[in-house]
């Protein structure tokens, strides 16, 4: 988080030169037999060049659907983007047709899926799958020799030992961590502007997880790509991200620089989430966990979605969705959707510390 000071300076306005992706009021709904699930319900955020932006939330909060919507890959046929704008280098992604989208996917915005075990095609070799990333975007103009060399270079870049030998391996011959590095290689193959990482380490064990995260940081430093990091793990957010948005039931409830969010969480949900992260220095007896669960798709509360689980909720919270309060803490750019913040001195009280 070395770039945080500069980050603070520029933050009062959003559309400055560094912003490469600006999402405004994105809505992706899932039309199921029983109900319309508002998986992403008016989400706005932006992404600067070279930064890592985290989206944190529980399973079902809509964070993955948000990520997939950026690539126009919302789960079909039930999912549909029903509103909003996604500005990417001055063009609205939602105005593009499928053919134009294919040009953007892979080459300009890329994604790492969460499960390395299943995200590689079992019947093709690693080399085949990595080189496909090149040939799809650039056509077949490469001759086989240079293509092979590029694939090997790329595999070396993601720390795969003896890539010349690994080239003709099938996915089942590799370990989970290695497979995830191959997936990472595919995602950076065409030097994209943005890589979306959807819980890329949740299927890996802890040591490999740490290795992988380090690799991602390295790649980011050498290539200057922006990363959108999707996770449910606040610990990873603290290590990886510059800014973070907390999602709950399809909405971003709080958003701001990582340090601000960690030190002064304002939304009761964020506060509860952070309280549930184990800290080395604070010897907590018991991790705090939030009573209740995400509202069922059909029973979305009329007001604040978190109200049924919130210890501070009053009548208005149940009836009306709160406005976004911004800049209430010492850090600018810190915004929170919560009625309590009408009182400028209010802060959620500690649970466990």
């Amino acid at each position: 988080m070395s770039n945080e000071p500069t980050l603070r300076k520029n933050t009062t306005q959003r559309a400055n030169g560094n912003v490469i992706l600006d999402v405004k009021d994105l809505r992706t709904y899932l039309f199921t037999k029983k109900a319309v699930v508002k998986a992403v319900d008016g989400v706005s955020f932006f992404l600067r060049k070279g930064e890592t932006f985290g989206i944190v939330g529980e399973s079902g909060s809509g964070k993955s659907t948000t990520a997939l919507s950026l690539l126009r890959m919302e789960p079909k046929p039930a999912g549909r983007i029903v509103g909003g704008e996604i500005w990417f280098y001055g063009e609205n992604i939602l105005d593009k047709n499928e053919k134009e989208m294919r040009k953007i996917r892979g080459s300009r915005i890329s994604m790492i899926l969460q499960d390395p075990q299943t995200s590689l095609n079992p019947v093709f070799t690693i080399g085949n799958q990595v080189s496909e990333a090149f040939t799809v975007q650039e056509g077949r103009k490469n001759n086989q020799g240079t293509l092979l060399q590029r694939v090997i270079d790329l595999l070396r870049k993601v720390n795969i030992a003896a890539p010349e030998r690994r080239f003709s391996d099938y996915p089942h011959q590799m370990s989970g961590g290695m497979k995830q590095r191959v997936v990472g290689a595919i995602s950076i193959s065409c030097a994209p502007d943005i890589v979306i990482a959807d819980e890329p380490t949740s299927a890996l064990d802890l040591t490999i997880q740490a290795q992988y995260l380090r690799l991602l940081r390295e790649i980011q430093q050498t290539t200057g790509i922006s990363i959108i990091f999707i996770t449910h793990d606040f610990g990873i957010v603290a290590k990886m991200c510059d800014r973070v948005a907390i999602m709950y039931a399809g909405k971003i409830v709080e958003h701001g620089p990582v340090r601000a969010i960690f030190n002064h969480p304002l939304h009761p949900y964020t506060h509860a989430l952070i309280s549930s992260v184990p800290r080395m220095e604070a010897r907590v007896e018991r991790l705090f966990s939030i009573p209740g669960q995400l509202p069922a798709p059909g029973e979305m509360p009329a007001g604040c979605r978190f109200a049924p689980r919130c210890m501070y909720a009053d009548d208005r919270c149940h009836k009306e969705y709160p406005p976004t309060f911004g800049g209430l803490s010492e850090h600018t750019e810190h915004t929170t959707d919560c009625w309590r913040l009408e009182d400028p001195t209010w802060e959620p009280k500690s649970y466990s510390r």
């Binding site: 040009k103 994604m111 899926l113 590689l120 019947v123 990333a133 975007q137 011959q173």
Partner: protein
């Protein structure tokens, strides 16, 4: 890999042994096997000769060994219907015709089932999907031989497009091949559809989309290559259905294959030919299954050989 093949070979041997025991036992189930093996009006000398040939004066287990010994030398006895002709020669003469028909039927089944199955999965719940389900349901509900007769009635008797029976030109093959193949279309299509659905829903297809691969390539390269593996295991079963289908269908169209031969032999109570056909067909089917299993192990890199 080698151990896998050896194990499968052993299994194949056991199955073939079981087939021979069943055939052997059935011949003796009827009392004096000579009644099954010989015509009523056979002479004493003939009966004596058969007795020695099959070792019928010895205990049952020895009889079985004689039977197997003869079978291994390709001696399945002589035909009653066509005296003087070896049963095995009769069968092998016709096997080619049956295989020819089965191959055309297989090509027809694949050519129809693959596109319908894939399209049904890609356009799930659409009109195409509905049509596919209808074809599948009809194919599995209609008896072959009846479709054959209805086809003859429509295309030969009424429209006079195709010959009713026999073998010769390609036109002779069209109706029987479609009749045999249709049942396969149904089963194969369902298999391809369900494995395509699974494949299209997978993470690797998602990754291919992320790479920007075109939809056509996603369907045919990424999804279909995976989806094609599951139906492949079904090919062994399919071969056996093709062979079985040939029995009724060859009879309907008087196609000079093994199926038609065996039905004629049953009618004439020509047991030696019937048992030969049973063993030859069973061997063909079992070997096909073995071949498919080994092929499968080569195609699917994930398969474990233990």
């Amino acid at each position: 890999m080698q151990r896998f093949i050896i194990r499968r070979l052993l299994q194949t041997l056991v199955t073939l042994l079981a087939v021979s025991i069943i055939v052997f036992a059935l011949a003796r189930l009827s009392g004096d096997p000579r009644d099954a093996l010989m015509p009523m009006e056979a002479s004493r000398a003939d009966r004596e000769r058969i007795l020695v040939h099959w070792g019928l004066d010895q205990p049952v287990h020895m009889q079985y060994l004689v039977f197997i010994g003869n079978a291994l030398r390709g001696d399945f006895g002589e035909s009653l219907q066509w005296p003087g002709r070896k049963a095995l020669d009769l069968v092998l003469d016709r096997l080619g015709n049956t295989m020819e028909l089965a191959a055309v039927a297989l090509v027809f089944a694949i050519a129809l089932a693959v596109p319908i199955g894939v399209l049904s999965a890609v356009h799930k719940d659409s009109r195409t999907d509905f049509l596919g389900k209808l074809i599948a349901l009809l194919g599995q509900s209609l008896p072959h031989f009846w479709i054959g007769i209805v086809f003859i009635w429509i295309f030969s008797v009424h429209l006079r497009w195709l010959p009713t029976s026999g073998r010769g030109t390609f036109q002779h093959m069209i109706m029987p091949a479609i009749v045999i193949g249709w049942f396969q279309v149904a089963a194969l299509m369902r298999l391809i559809r369900s494995s395509m659905l699974e494949s299209l829903d997978s993470e690797y297809v998602k990754l291919a989309r992320i790479k920007g691969v075109s939809e056509r390539m996603i369907i045919w390269k990424h999804a279909f290559r995976n989806a094609a593996i599951t139906p492949l295991t079904y090919f062994g079963v399919m071969m056996s259905y093709l062979v079985v289908g040939s029995i009724t269908t060859e009879t309907v169209f008087s196609w000079p294959g093994v199926g038609y031969l065996v039905v004629q032999a049953v009618t004439a109570r020509d047991f030696q030919v019937v048992q030969t056909v049973a063993i030859v067909f069973a061997t063909v089917i079992i070997l096909m299954n073995l071949a498919v299993d080994i092929l499968y192990a080569y195609i699917d890199p994930r398969i474990r050989y233990d």
